[in-house]
């Protein structure tokens, strides 16, 4: 079991929501609200998480070792000192990177390129 987690590709493809959570935490640690806002920003409001589906995802990712809960806080969030912050782990980064690579390979295929170009022109 231990081996499998190290092989980052075994999880591909990631669930979109997992991938988005990982991406939202790449540059800084966030609490739940931050994660929701960051995902909304990244997807231009297409994905709006609510508490009921955010926290089970966070928990699952923490248990998988991709995220960890952290006591560190960002300076501007003093008023949220009670909140739990989440940070991406090294494993989480590797898995996010592996998914990104997989997606890039997917979109760089010629046929997909043609599709993308055709769509943006039309």
């Amino acid at each position: 079991m231990g081996k499998a987690t190290d092989d980052s590709n075994v999880h591909a493809p990631l669930r979109p929501v997992d991938f988005h959570v990982l991406l939202s935490l790449l540059s800084r640690d966030l609490h739940g609200y931050g994660v929701v806002k960051e995902i909304e920003r990244r997807t231009a409001g297409a994905i709006k998480l609510v508490p009921g589906n955010l926290y089970p995802v966070l928990r699952r990712l923490v248990e998988a070792g991709w995220l960890e809960e952290t006591a560190e806080r960002q300076a501007e969030d003093v008023e949220h000192k009670q909140r739990r912050y989440y940070a991406i782990t090294a494993l989480g980064r590797r898995i996010a990177a592996a998914e990104a690579v997989r997606l890039r390979m997917l979109v760089e295929e010629n046929e997909v390129q043609a599709l993308v170009e055709g769509w943006s022109e039309g």
């Binding site: 739940g32 926290y55 928990r59 909140r83």
Partner: protein
Amino acid sequence: MTTVWVRIYRALLRLYPRGMRVRDGHEMLGLFVDLLEEERRERGSMAAAKRAIGVYLEVPRSAWAAHVAVRRTRQLGRLRRGHFVGDVGTDLRRAAVSLRRSPGFVAVALLTLALGMGATTAMFTLIHATLLRPLPFPEPDNLYMVYLTTRTPGRETRPTRWSYGEFQVLRDRDLGFQGLAAFARAEFNLTGEGVPYHVRGEVVSSGYFAVLGVPTALGRTFLAGEDGASGRTAVAVVSDELWRSALGGRGGLRGEQIKVNGVAMEVIGVMPPGFKGLTGRADVWVTHAMAPEVYYPSHFTSHQHFLNVAGRLRDGQTVESVASALNSLEPTLAEQFGAQHEGEGQWGATLRSLGSERIDPAVRRASLVLFGAAFLVLMIASANLAALLLSRGLARQREMAIRRALGSSRARLVREALIESGLLGLSGGALGLLLTLWLTQWGASFLSARLATRQLSQFATVSVDGSVLLFTAIVSLGTGLVFGLGPALRASRADVDMTLRGGARAGPAMLGGRRPGPFAVLVVSEFTLALILLVGASLMLETLDNLRARAPGFDPEGVVTFRIQPPLAEYSSEQGPALLERVLDAVSGIQGVTSASVGPCAPLMTTCAWREVRLPLEVDPGGAVRATFRRHYVGPDFLRTLGIPLLRGRWITRGDRQGSPNVTVVNRRAAETLWPGEDPIGKRVVLGSGEFMNPDSTAIVVGMVADVRYGTAEEPIGLDIYTSYRQFSRSFTYVMVKSDLPLSTLVPELRSAIRGVDPDLPIYDVATMGSRGSSALARPRFTGFLLASFAALALVLAALGIYGVMSELVSRRRRELGVRMAIGADRRILIRYIVGRGATLALAGVSLGVVGALILARVLESQLWGVSSTDGLVLAGAATFLLAVGLVAVLVPAIRAARVDPVVVLRSE
């Protein structure tokens, strides 16, 4: 505002699994607050509200997903820990396999349970039909019977029925009823094409069907204009049954005509199948408007109380509000009708729910007693089941110990045992249900025998329906679980170490040394319950014997009775007696008929009409002496036909006819009541009350006859007054015929004799006096039969119980017995020892049972006749009998114990 949204979300959080709530609840709430605040800041309160609602709506989905995830994790965990997958389906399969491995145990357990459950379910079916099932009408709780109340000074208030005039007063006031309808039983002859025949019907108000809320299946019901004293229209509504049998019953109504008591009527409506009116036996309905012509000439003018009134409360009205409105009727009723009912002060009216009014109190008591008895049988059966499970648990102690040693939790073993016993319970219940289906036939015939005697139908069709199935499922599962729990706990408590080393022999402790063990408790309680049942059954059988032995006061031998009802439309009150004379002549003329008479009611039935009788005013100026008598309008051969002895004076003769002085004959009880210590001959009485208080209805007593039982088997002897049918007539009557002909030849002869008198006159309700006698005993016989069956069952079950437990004891103590014998114990001492143990248990149970029987006997009191519920002889007899049965059951294992070969036993160790 925000706080409300947050508060709602906090409440909704409870839908998530506990673990998640504890861990993330606070965070989730915080996130919710943040999201909401942001939305409000940036897009206003409306947007915030929308957002909040969006979050709420998502809660069920994510909560469900979270629960599913928790479950999956748990199952995975269980698998990882190396346990068996613990879902109930697997346990059920396993229980079934385990039970299949011991067919003997299962057979005995199932048989025991099936008997107990069969009795209980059957009796539940009975009380469900008689007491619990709601009326088959929409919103039955709003339906009430309305009674007129009168109070004679010095007597308690008596609810009675209504005369038509009184009903009008009631109907014309607004008292809070949505509708009120008066109805009365009626008997009709249907004539026309083919053989004339008799049907039962009701005379009803036009709103009758609307009050009940029952629409017609075909056509319409009566219009308001067709009812009442002025609305004479010859129309009738018929039952589905009559429509199909007599009117062809196909297609729509095409102006079919029926001739009801000689009056042609158009059929305007057909009621839905099964509807038989509130009397539960009607096939034809006519309006009050038609009643004087077809049934009762004085329908509108009579002051007799013969109309039932049913009403439906308007929405929003309560019993209390209507009852107080009813009180306002008193002055009007007293003013208009007081004169006719002299001496009956304090008029009023009262309501009683139709749902409770239809329940015959005698049937209610009998049903409850029987249900209780069946429940006791079930308890005995359950005690046996518990004993069986207990010994099965002991036998499997080793298996349990091994599984405990291998890491099965105790809870798991208990659960498995409970699933086993629950399965047994349910299977026993299913078998019991089969027994019920067979037993309910009895119940059905019993009830139909009782129905005829009531003014209101009980709507009691005994049938197994959804409620019965539910009851059976719950009780059988409950029995399995409750009585399986003790044994399951005990079996799982096995001391692993001791059992596996082979040291534990639970025998002696289970039966009890100083403290009573569980087996002892079970056996004792079985004997206690069995004795209670045995005493109950003995008392009931004693009652039945007493009732059978009651002198009927007449000789039923060779007497056949039937009924005729000359239609009033064709026979006026002057022609009636002449018709009856011709009928009697024709019947007496049949070869083999010794004598014949008419009379309004035959002995041993409950259809006699009661009339008030008083003394002439000059003898009794205050009208203080008055009593209710059965009125008998009879012929000169009445005494000879029924073999009733004349005690004093003379009987009614052919010479006592219209024009000659009115004469009457009373029974002994009546004479003793009206003229205690005096000779009744020559006294004068006034027959009837109200309108009948005219000099013409005064009669001179010319004779006194012996008491005859006219009522039900239990009824005390009543007051009877006989007059000649030639002086006081009544349209419908029984004809009693004494002959030595068999019924099969007599009845066709009777039919043709009556046809000779009037071809349109049907004869009906033909029965020998012998069969009337036995149907008068129907209820006590039914109760007695069932109680005796339950007691017999209880006896067998208790005997099996003590036999099983003592056998168990003997086989568990084989080693000890072997050792005793090896060191020289006498076989007889051993037998005495085992029998002694058994007898002690039986005796303890019987003693407790005597106490229980003394307490419970009071419940039975109302069912008994001529025997005290605490009859010492009955108690002693039942106790002795039960002890004897117990001893026999113990003897077999005792002898087996004595046959133990010490060598074999000791070698096997």
